[in-house]
C-alpha cells in the first residue's frame, strides 16, 4: 500500500470528530423524551421538508452507492447508468403511495411497515414475514456501508496486519453505535446535513475540475471502449440488455421504499405534504448520483488502473478503488480528505438509520408481538436501543468474518426478498382486497423462486427467462414479484371461502389529511 496521506487523513479525522460531537449533541435537538420509541426511533415525527430532504437523501444515496455505481461504470460501462432511471422512478411511487402510509402510521402510532400490515390485515404471521424480510435484507446492507469506509481508509494509506488493520473501522463503528444509542434518529438526521453538503461539494468539484484536466467530455467518452459506452444491442430472439436494464430500474425502484431504513426516513417526516414536496426535491440527489456514475468513465480516461501507485489498492478493493484512486490522482491532499470524509460519513448515516429501523422492527413486531405483549414505553425504547447495537455488531461481524463478496450477494438477494412485501405494504395502503394468507403464500413463493433463480443465474441480478422461443433477461426481483402478485390474486378467493377475515383496524379516512 502507498504511504499514509497525512493531510487527507488529518482533514478526515477532524470532520469525523465534528460529526461525532454533532451525533451526541443531536439528543437535545427538537428535544423529546428519548424513552419513547417514536421519539428515539422516528425523531418524534417532527422533521419538516428540508430536514427530511437531507435525511432521506442521506439515507437512500449511501456511501456504497457512491463507490459501487461508478465502480460498475468503470468495470461494466453503460449498464451502471440504470441507477438513473431507477432513481427517477422512485419518486412517482413515493408521491402516490407513501403519504397515505405516513397518514395511517401517524394516526395509529405505527413505527414500522409490519405494524401497518398487522393492523390492516389482522394477521400476525404476515406481519412477521414482513418483519423478518426487513431485518434480513437490511443487515448485509449495513455491512456494505462498512466496505465504503474500508475503501477510503485504505486509500489514505492506513493499513496494518491482523486486528490492527481493522482498528479504524472499529473506531468508526463504536462511535456510530454510541451516538445512535444515545440520540436515536436525531443523530443521523443532523449528520446527514453535513454529509450531504460534503457530497454535493465533492460531486460538483469532480464533475467540473476533472474534465478540465482530462481535456473535456469529448475526450473522456472517446477513451471509453465502445463495448462499455452503450448497452449491447440484443441478438435475435432475445430482448437482451434492454429488458435487463429496464426491469433492473423498475424493480429496484419498486423495492427501494420497502426497505425498513427508507420507511423510517419517510415516517419521521412531520406531514404527508413534506413527503410530497420531497418527491419533487429528492431528484437533486439522483442528478448527483448520475454525475458520480460518470466518475467511473473519468477513471477510465485518467488511466488510474495502470498507475503503479494504485496497483495495491486495485488489488485489494477491485473496481471499488476506481473513485478513490481518481480522487487521489486529481485533487490536492486536503480536498481528498474532504471527499473521503464525505464517503466515510456517508456510510455512517444510512448504517445508523438501518440499525434503528431493524431495531424498531424487532421491538415492535417480534418482541412486543411474541414475547412481551405489554412493555412500558421505556422498556420498549430500551429494547430498541440494545437491538440497534446488536444489529451493528452483526454487520461488523459480517464484514470481518466473511468475504465481502458474500455481503454483496446477500444484498443482491435482499433486494429480491424485500420486494415480495410490496403487495402487503404498498398495495395494502390502497386496498385490503387480498387475503392475508394468500399474501403470505405469494411472499413465500416469491422468496423461494427468487432465491432459486438468483442461484441458477450464478448470483447475478438478472435471470434469462425463456418463453415462447425467446429469451427475456430481466431483474429476478421483478419477475418474482409478478409471480407473487398473480398467486396472491388467485388464492385470495380461495382463502376467503375457507373462513372469515380478521377486522381492519384502519378506516379510509386514516389514509389522508
Amino acid at each position: 500500500m502507498q504511504h499514509v496521506n497525512w493531510v487527507a487523513l488529518g482533514i478526515f479525522v477532524v470532520l469525523f470528530g465534528f460529526i461525532t460531537w454533532l451525533g451526541f449533541a443531536a439528543a437535545h435537538w427538537r428535544k423529546g423524551d428519548l424513552d419513547q420509541l417514536h421519539e428515539w426511533g422516528l425523531g418524534g415525527r417532527r422533521f419538516g421538508t428540508l430536514i427530511t430532504w437531507f435525511l432521506v437523501g442521506g439515507d437512500l444515496y449511501t456511501a456504497y452507492t457512491f463507490i459501487a455505481v461508478p465502480a460498475l461504470a468503470f468495470g461494466a460501462g453503460a449498464v451502471a447508468f440504470f441507477a438513473v432511471p431507477y432513481t427517477i422512478l422512485i419518486y412517482p411511487i413515493l408521491f402516490l403511495v407513501f403519504p397515505r402510509l405516513w397518514h395511517v402510521c401517524h394516526k395509529h402510532n405505527y413505527i414500522t411497515a409490519a405494524d401497518f400490515v398487522r393492523g390492516r390485515f389482522g394477521n400476525r404471521w404476515l406481519a412477521l414475514a414482513v418483519t423478518i424480510t426487513g431485518i434480513i435484507a437490511t443487515t448485509p446492507y449495513i455491512a456494505l456501508q462498512l466496505v465504503g469506509i474500508q475503501v477510503v481508509i485504505g486509500a489514505m494509506g492506513v493499513s496494518g496486519s491482523g486486528w490492527v488493520a481493522h482498528l479504524p473501522l472499529f473506531i468508526a463503528f463504536a462511535v456510530m453505535a454510541a451516538f445512535t444509542y444515545s440520540s436515536g434518529l436525531r443523530a443521523p438526521a443532523s449528520i446527514a446535513i453535513v454529509k450531504d453538503i460534503l457530497i454535493y461539494i465533492t460531486a460538483f468539484a469532480a464533475i467540473i475540475i476533472i474534465p478540465i484536466h482530462l481535456g473535456g467530455f469529448g475526450k473522456i467518452f472517446a477513451a471509453v471502449p465502445d463495448a462499455k459506452l452503450l448497452l449491447a444491442v440484443p441478438g435475435a430472439h432475445s430482448t437482451g440488455a434492454y429488458s435487463a436494464y429496464a426491469t433492473l430500474a423498475l424493480g429496484s425502484a419498486l423495492a427501494l421504499f420497502l426497505y425498513p431504513h427508507s420507511l423510517t426516513g419517510i415516517l419521521a417526516a412531520s406531514s404527508g405534504g413534506a413527503i410530497r414536496r420531497n418527491a419533487a426535491m429528492l431528484p437533486g440527489y439522483s442528478f448527483v448520483l448520475g454525475l458520480l456514475a460518470l466518475l467511473g468513465f473519468f477513471a477510465i480516461a485518467a488511466g488510474v488502473k495502470d498507475l503503479p501507485e494504485f496497483a495495491a489498492g486495485f488489488k485489494e478493493f477491485g473496481n471499488n478503488f476506481a473513485v478513490p484512486a481518481l480522487m487521489l490522482h486529481s485533487f490536492p491532499a486536503w480536498f481528498v480528505g474532504v471527499a473521503f470524509a464525505a464517503v466515510g460519513i456517508g456510510a455512517l448515516v444510512p448504517a445508523a438509520i438501518m440499525s434503528i429501523a431493524a431495531a424498531n422492527l424487532y421491538t415492535r413486531n417480534i418482541h412486543r408481538e411474541f414475547i412481551n405483549r405489554n412493555p412500558s414505553a421505556k422498556e420498549e425504547a430500551q429494547i430498541a436501543k440494545w437491538v440497534s447495537l446488536i444489529v451493528k455488531v452483526g454487520a461488523l461481524g459480517f464484514i470481518l468474518l466473511v468475504p465481502t463478496k458474500f455481503a454483496i450477494n446477500m444484498q443482491l438477494l435482499g433486494g429480491i426478498w424485500i420486494i415480495q412485501t410490496l403487495p402487503a405494504v404498498m398495495l395494502g395502503t390502497f386496498t385490503r382486497w387480498f387475503n392475508p394468507w394468500a399474501l403470505l403464500v405469494g411472499w413465500a413463493v416469491g422468496i423461494i423462486a427468487g432465491t432459486s433463480m438468483a442461484i441458477a443465474a450464478h448470483l447475478t441480478p438478472t435471470f434469462p427467462l425463456a418463453f415462447a422461443g425467446a429469451t427475456f433477461p430481466g431483474y429476478t426481483a421483478f419477475y418474482t414479484l409478478l409471480a407473487n402478485l398473480l398467486l396472491a390474486g388467485v388464492l385470495t378467493p380461495l382463502f376467503n371461502a375457507l373462513g372469515p377475515r380478521a377486522a381492519d383496524e384502519t378506516v379510509a379516512a386514516d389514509y389522508h389529511a
Binding site: 453503460a78 447508468f81 438513473v84 432511471p85 432513481t87 427517477i88 422512478l89 419518486y91 412517482p92 408521491f95 402516490l96 473535456g216 467530455f217 469529448g218 475526450k219 473522456i220 467518452f221 472517446a222 459506452l229 452503450l230 448497452l231 444491442v233 440488455a241 434492454y242 436494464y245 429496464a246 430500474a249 423498475l250 405534504g273 410530497r276 414536496r277 418527491a279 419533487a280 426535491m281 431528484p283 437533486g284 439522483s286 442528478f287 448520475g290 460518470l294 379510509a508 379516512a509 389522508h512 389529511a513
Partner: protein, 68 residues
C-alpha cells in the same frame, strides 16, 4: 377525520404526468445511441440526466396542481 367525500376520491388526472416518466426512461432502444451527442456527451447519458430534471419538474407540477 370528518372529510367531505370529495377529497377522498384519490385519483386525479394530473397523475398521468407520472406515466410520462415511466415511458420516457423504460424503453432503452429509444435512447441507446451515441448521437446526437451534446458537448461530447453521448445521447444515452445526457438524455437520461435530462429526465432527472424533467421528472422533478413534472412531480412539482403534480404537487402544485393537486395541492388542496
Amino acid at each position: 377525520m370528518n372529510e367531505t367525500p370529495k377529497t377522498q376520491t384519490g385519483w386525479r388526472w394530473w397523475y398521468l404526468l407520472f406515466v410520462l416518466q415511466f415511458l420516457g426512461v423504460l424503453w432503452p432502444p429509444f435512447y441507446n445511441s451515441a448521437e446526437p451527442s451534446w458537448h461530447g456527451i453521448p445521447f444515452f447519458y445526457w438524455y437520461q440526466m435530462l429526465w432527472v430534471l424533467v421528472s422533478a419538474l413534472l412531480t412539482a407540477s403534480v404537487y402544485f396542481a393537486t395541492k388542496k
